[in-house]
């Protein structure tokens, strides 16, 4: 078995982000929101504040650590919503075909034609900022990739003998989709979902940067960047550390996705015969 660098490095980056997020209350040295002290405003990195402090004197390290919770939650939950919508639509469209397939395919193409961030912006504008609206906005706007992939995979699998055999054995359509088709298309879907989670984290950052994400006192990496843009030359640490956090997490997810593709791709798997 060859050494899969992208899988391990990506996994390590992503795992670090997750662990940091989970342990945030333990490893944070200050309260990320209420420990404001204007006397300490915009201190550069040092012993007391390893990543420095922001304009209100809050510890950036603690805010990045706590921000991981929000960014990861948004990224993962939004992608879960996307995957569930995309896979259910793709699976049923591919399997049933007919007018349902035409409808789903049309909707997918429509979604692909609209830039998903603009779409999410519109939803956010209607729902107003906040965690829940962020999850809804991001969870409803980029399911088309999973949907297309699931549909294409199902189209190639549904004429296989084992799917026909299941029909002949009396399996219902739903049972066939869940027990016969889904397990066999899960690999590529996981890859797409991993890459999509990275995309959602970036989208969250973009929306928060535009002021439409998490409400101000609570730290998300995007909103921290947004707050820092005035001081990008005078206090660069304000933007560098949340930026780095986004970079490492998204890079980690993308590498992980590539690594998983190598493992889960049926063509690279050995066929014993």
């Amino acid at each position: 078995m060859k050494f899969r660098a992208n899988l391990y490095i990506g996994g390590a980056f992503f795992a670090t982000a997750v662990i940091v997020g989970v342990l945030a209350p333990v490893i944070a040295t200050h309260d990320p929101v209420f420990d404001a002290n204007l006397m300490n405003a915009e201190l550069p990195p040092g012993w007391e504040y390893p990543f420095g402090t922001d304009a209100q004197g809050r510890d950036i390290y603690s805010r990045v650590v706590h921000g991981a919770r929000i960014s990861l939650t948004v990224g993962l939950v939004a992608q879960c919503i996307n995957s569930i919508i995309g896979v259910s639509l793709g699976l049923t469209a591919g399997y049933w075909g007919g007018w349902w397939d035409d409808l789903v395919s049309g909707l997918t193409n429509l979604m692909l034609a609209i830039p998903s961030l603009i779409f999410a912006l519109a939803i956010m504008a209607i729902l107003g900022p906040g965690l829940v609206s962020l999850l809804i906005a991001l969870g409803l706007t980029s399911w088309s990739y999973s949907c297309r992939l699931a549909r294409a995979q199902v189209l190639s699998l549904k004429s296989q003998g084992y799917v026909q055999a299941a029909k002949i054995l009396g399996y219902s359509d739903l049972r066939i989709m869940f027990t016969q088709l889904l397990p066999n298309i899960l690999g590529p879907l996981i890859v797409i979902a991993t890459l999509g989670a990275g995309g959602s984290i970036l989208a969250e950052a973009a929306l928060s940067f535009l002021g439409l994400g998490i409400r101000p006192p609570y730290p998300s990496w995007g909103s921290m960047l947004s707050d820092a843009r005035e001081q990008i030359t005078t206090a660069p640490w304000l933007s560098i550390f949340p930026g780095l956090a986004i970079f490492i997490t998204v890079l980690g997810l993308n590498l992980l996705g590539d690594g998983l593709r190598d493992i889960l791709d049926p063509q690279s798997r050995e066929r014993t015969s």
């Binding site: 009396g170 027990t179 066999n184």
Partner: protein, 337 residues
């Protein structure tokens, strides 16, 4: 073979399956007559061999019997159930009467399911037995098809082609059906493995009192396993009868061409005049009259205009050929009886 006085297990009556091809944007609308007016019966305990080449409709016929393709008209009666254009198949009910063995042992098993799951799930779905009974039936059917009990927790990729086909057969038999459709069950297997599977199918038929529809293009296999044989060409049955009549005294030139086409070291020079000429016409545009006339060594004017009906040449032996009553010599010239 006392099949005459029994009610048939499978009765197919004037069955047709037509597919519309094309339409508004895809050129003129045409109709593909995959199955075009077929009547067949299979008695309990009987094996019907179904022979034909690509495009003859044998796979569509199989799918229709399995309830996967609705008939355009005509009807199929299987035991106490009926499938017709008006009446869709009830899969849960049908599943316990008729099952299928597939050609490709690689594509016909779910790669993510163990043998045990493949065999036990249908039992649970149909509410057959409690946990121990399910275990018992899985072990029992595995033993019957020649698999060892410890192989139950393995995945399909851990088995060879022949063993996979045994798993496929076990899956077809787990609900104890009365009729099994075998769609080219050995043609995807290694030559040295085929005899194992053919013998197994015949043993199971006798042990469990099964009926088979054996779909194959391999006449050697069909002759070996069948009680009766039906030959299909472009959606129609051109000849049917007992295996002995079909192979000893074939009356349709297409049946004779099929037999003549089998390479066999012992009959190498006997059959030159009986081979079919040219290619099989497209099922979308079959020739008028007798579908076979374009390739037939006996074709006459009548064959180009009149559709020959499937009529008896002897009790239980029918052929759809205008010249069915005339025997031919080995070299294909017509000989008066």
């Amino acid at each position: 073979m006392a099949e005459a006085d029994q009610t048939p297990l499978l009765a197919i009556d004037n069955l047709a399956v037509h597919y519309p091809i094309g339409g508004t944007f895809r050129g003129p609308r045409r109709v593909l007559k995959a199955v075009d007016g077929i009547a067949l019966t299979v008695a309990p305990g009987e094996c019907l061999g179904l022979v034909g080449e690509s495009g003859c409709g044998k796979s569509t016929l199989a799918m229709t019997i399995m309830g996967l393709v609705p008939p355009t008209h005509g009807r199929i009666r299987i035991a106490d159930q009926e499938i017709s254009a008006a009446k869709k198949a009830d899969h849960m009910h049908l599943a316990r009467t008729v099952q299928m063995v597939f050609q490709d042992p690689y594509a016909s098993l779910n790669p993510r399911q163990t043998v045990r799951r493949t065999l036990a799930d249908p039992l649970r779905l149909h509410g057959i037995g409690n946990k121990t009974e399910v275990e018992h039936r899985v072990a029992d059917i595995m033993a019957k098809v020649g698999l060892r009990p410890e192989q139950a927790d393995r995945y399909p990729h851990e088995f060879s082609g022949g063993q996979r086909q045994r798993i496929g057969i076990a899956r077809a038999l787990i609900l104890r059906p009365r009729l099994v459709l075998c769609d080219e069950p050995v043609s995807a297997l290694d030559v040295s493995i085929r005899a194992q599977i053919i013998n197994l199918l015949l043993e199971l038929k006798d042990d469990l009192g099964l009926s088979y529809v054996m779909i194959s293009h391999d006449l050697g296999v069909v002759e070996h396993v069948s009680d009766r044989v039906a030959v299909m060409y472009l959606g129609r049955i051109v000849e049917r009868g007992g295996w002995r009549e079909i192979f000893e005294d074939p009356r349709h030139p297409y049946t004779r061409a099929l037999i003549a086409a089998i390479p066999d070291a012992f009959r190498r020079r006997a059959v030159a005049g009986q081979k079919a000429r040219g290619e099989i016409p497209s099922a979308l545009a079959p020739p008028p009259g007798c579908h076979f006339h374009t390739r037939c060594p006996l074709a006459a004017d009548q064959c180009r205009s009149d559709v020959p009906l499937l009529e008896p040449v002897a009790p239980g032996h029918l052929a759809a050929c205008h010249f069915r009553d005339r025997a031919t010599s080995l070299h294909g010239e017509l000989v008066e009886p």
